[in-house]
């Protein structure tokens, strides 16, 4: 679960990590009022969960209250990477001497938390990582021992930070670590952490991602989930208990298991088609879930064919077939639907589908070939 910047900023404040003065605004009037309070020179930042917000025009610096109003007008209601901007953060303008990159993240390689820092912070940090990887200091943290004091110093030393800032920098890392542990974060990132012209360290951006699996430990944080931040279809998927991701193609997919779903989409691509979605229906395939999933797929008007691919293991294929048939009693559609069943009793399952509108298929290659063909016809 990704937090919006303004939410992360509140979390940082609770942990005494210095951030600029500022507040969230949902209207131009609010932007104006906050700008007045902050003395006119402000930064207006779109609150969206996608990266590259700055490059998409979602961050503007206003020198006057009038400018603030003007930029707020441009940003509020705009879309950034398909997501509507409903809120902007209005922060005081900070004059910057130096930009530092700082984060704690889950590292899959070491299977431990990793602390990363660089004195080349800012928007180009990924470029620095490619061209001068030695400029990114990385330190793995022992999850049982936690972040040791010497590691804090070690990072300060190795990013060539001026000694005057060691103490404050160490304190900020230490507090970030507490955020990471206390909130079951998978990422806490500050980019940039700046040295201001008044020689103070301040977190100018704040990115926090929480572990969805651990939200049972943090009911309060769960309330921060921003329902506007994901496409409605994904929210709908969550509601009916399936994993759904919208894609660009025209072949709807309904598969049990994430790996098998990906493999299904892969073969569609291999054959020159393109999937309209990823949909993992999970264990079994009961009639109700199949029905709700099909409605979700059909709500995308681009869809020209549907491929249902189910492995019958402990649930036998003949039972799965019955579930699918029962779901289709509730749904009327002219779109061709290919059903491929594999596993225990697959032949019996396919036989049950033979006298229906559904197109049965025995192999994945066969099923995908039919679906790609049908989708092509629909297009023509």
């Amino acid at each position: 679960m990704k937090l919006q910047e303004y939410q992360s900023k509140i979390l940082f404040t609770m942990y005494n990590i210095p951030v600029p003065n500022g507040r969230i605004a949902e209207s131009i009037g609010e932007v104006k009022q906050i700008s007045e309070e902050l003395g006119g020179r402000v930064v207006i930042k779109a609150q969206v969960l996608s990266g590259g917000r700055g490059k998409a025009g979602g961050v503007r610096i206003a020198k006057t209250i009038d400018e603030a109003e003007e930029y707020a007008n441009q940003i509020l209601g705009k879309e950034i990477y398909g997501m509507p901007v409903r809120k902007v953060l209005v922060d005081e303008m900070i004059s910057i001497d130096k930009e530092i990159y700082l984060s704690i993240a889950n590292d899959r390689n070491s299977q431990k938390p990793i602390l990363m820092a660089s004195s080349f912070g800012g928007m180009d940090i990924e470029e620095v990582s490619r061209s001068n990887p030695e400029k990114i200091v990385k330190r793995v943290i022992d999850p049982l021992l936690g972040l040791r004091d010497y590691q804090l110093r070690d990072v300060a030393i190795n990013i060539d930070l001026d000694r005057d800032y060691w103490q404050d920098f160490s304190t900020i890392i230490h507090q970030l670590w507490k955020v990471y542990v206390d909130c079951d974060a998978t990422l806490v990132e500050v980019n940039p952490l700046v040295i201001t012209s008044e020689k103070k360290l301040t977190a100018l951006d704040a990115k926090v991602v929480l572990d969805d699996n651990a939200m049972f430990r943090h009911p309060n944080l769960n309330d921060l989930r921003d329902k506007d931040a994901v496409p409605p279809s994904e929210t709908q998927g969550r509601k009916i208990g399936v994993s759904f991701i919208k894609m660009e193609g025209n072949i709807g997919c309904l598969v049990n298991g994430a790996g098998l779903a990906m493999a299904t989409m892969d073969i569609i691509k291999e054959l020159g088609g393109e999937a309209a979605n990823f949909l993992d229906i999970g264990g079994g395939a009961n009639a109700k879930k199949v029905e709700e999933s099909l409605r979700l797929i059909l709500s995308d008007e681009k869809v020209k064919a549907i491929l249902i691919n189910v492995f019958g293991g402990i649930t036998r294929c003949d039972e799965v077939a019955k579930g699918i048939l029962s779901a289709f009693k509730e749904i009327q559609t002219n779109i061709p639907i290919v059903v491929r069943l594999v596993g225990t009793n697959d032949k019996e399952g396919l036989r049950l589908l033979q006298d229906t509108e559904l197109i049965p298929a025995g192999s994945l290659l066969e099923a995908a070939t039919i679906a790609v063909g049908k989708a092509g016809e629909g297009k023509a």
């Binding site: 990266g51 984060s103 993240a105 889950n106 590292d107 899959r108 390689n109 299977q111 431990k112 938390p113 990793i114 990363m116 940090i125 990924e126 990582s129 490619r130 990114i136 990385k138 022992d142 999850p143 049982l144 542990v181 079951d184 998978t186 990422l187 990132e189 980019n191 990115k207 991602v209 572990d211 699996n213 651990a214 049972f216 430990r217 894609m247 598969v255 049990n256 298991g257 994430a258 790996g259 098998l260 990906m262 493999a263 989409m265 892969d266 073969i267 569609i268 691509k269 291999e270 393109e274 990823f278 492995f311 293991g313 402990i314 594999v342 596993g343 225990t344 192999s363 994945l364 290659l365």
Partner: protein, 288 residues
């Protein structure tokens, strides 16, 4: 022979009285897996499945009484960390965690703890193991594979079953199938299993089923190149997946270009591993 589980496995089921635990215990039993005990705190002294399996309050007491040497975990996600610690501290050599949804930081602590212990962990969020004809530890459907000389390692669930089924349909038997699970922090990985299959006299070839994310497949490629004499066939799911939603800049700084299906396929192909384009193509690529 086989790896990790066989006829001598004396299995304990942690969380045996839950819905999932009870259902799959019955499935494993009907496969003739030697299940010796279950654990559910507070239900010690009960018997389940018509008095076939005794339930204990703690793993240690179950081990003391029954000599269990492997454990399969079906407890709810929030209790997974504790259940693994309990099994490890009871010095059970093999722990298989089926439960999905364990908090990642819990698993990091488990993993760090395991680094100085001898217990082997499979999972969490995995289908478990199947040594056809001998033992089913987890939820892999038992009837889709028969005993043979192909080792299977997979990060996926139903995709694994699909591959087992394809082998079955082509008359190819399996020594052991290991579903290692897809979680970012987990117990045994590809290399750990490849090492065991390379040493297993009954295994003549290995099928590896990977997917996007992480760099386990790339590391496995290095291992195969340096250490494997047996042929390996691989399938990597996710070539059509859009570039992942990376987490902040940190994701890019940690992973660089690894983690994509292309990167994995290239790493494996470059050292001579045959790559299937779809699961049903796998049997034809195996030459033993």
């Amino acid at each position: 022979m086989s790896i990790l589980v066989n006829k001598d496995t004396r299995l304990l089921v942690q969380g045996i009285t839950g819905n999932e635990g009870l259902f799959h215990t019955e499935q494993m039993l009907s496969y003739k897996t030697n299940i010796v005990a279950g654990v559910t705190p507070g239900k010690g002294g009960d018997w389940v499945l018509n008095g076939k399996i005794p339930v204990f309050d703690s793993v240690q007491s179950a081990v003391d009484v029954t000599g269990a040497n492997a454990s399969v975990i079906f407890v709810p996600a929030r209790f997974v960390g504790d259940a693994i610690f309990e099994a490890v501290d009871a010095e059970i050599p093999l722990v298989v965690c089926i439960t999905e949804g364990a908090p990642i930081q819990d698993m990091m602590r488990v993993k760090q703890y395991l680094s100085s212990r001898s217990t082997r962990l499979i999972g969490p969020n995995c289908p478990g193991l199947l040594t056809p004809g001998e033992a089913k530890v987890g939820i892999i459907p038992g009837n889709i594979a028969f005993s043979g000389n192909i080792g299977v390692i997979s990060r996926s669930g139903t995709l694994t079953y699909e591959v087992l089924y394809a082998l079955n349909q082509n008359g190819m038997g399996v020594s052991t199938c290991v579903g290692i699970g897809g979680d970012p922090v987990k117990g045994m990985n590809f290399v750990d299993c490849l090492e065991l299959f390379e040493a297993d006299a009954r295994t003549d070839a290995v099928v590896m089923i990977g997917e996007i994310g992480g760099n386990d497949e790339e590391i496995a490629a290095n291992y195969i190149s340096a250490n494997m004499t047996k042929p390996v066939v691989a399938f990597i799911a996710g070539i059509s997946a859009p570039p992942g939603k990376r987490m902040g800049h940190a994701g890019a700084l940690i992973e660089g270009n690894s983690g994509t299906a292309q990167s994995k396929i290239q790493a494996l192909q470059s050292i001579g591993v045959k790559i299937a384009r779809y699961p049903e193509e796998i049997p034809g690529l195996i030459t033993v």
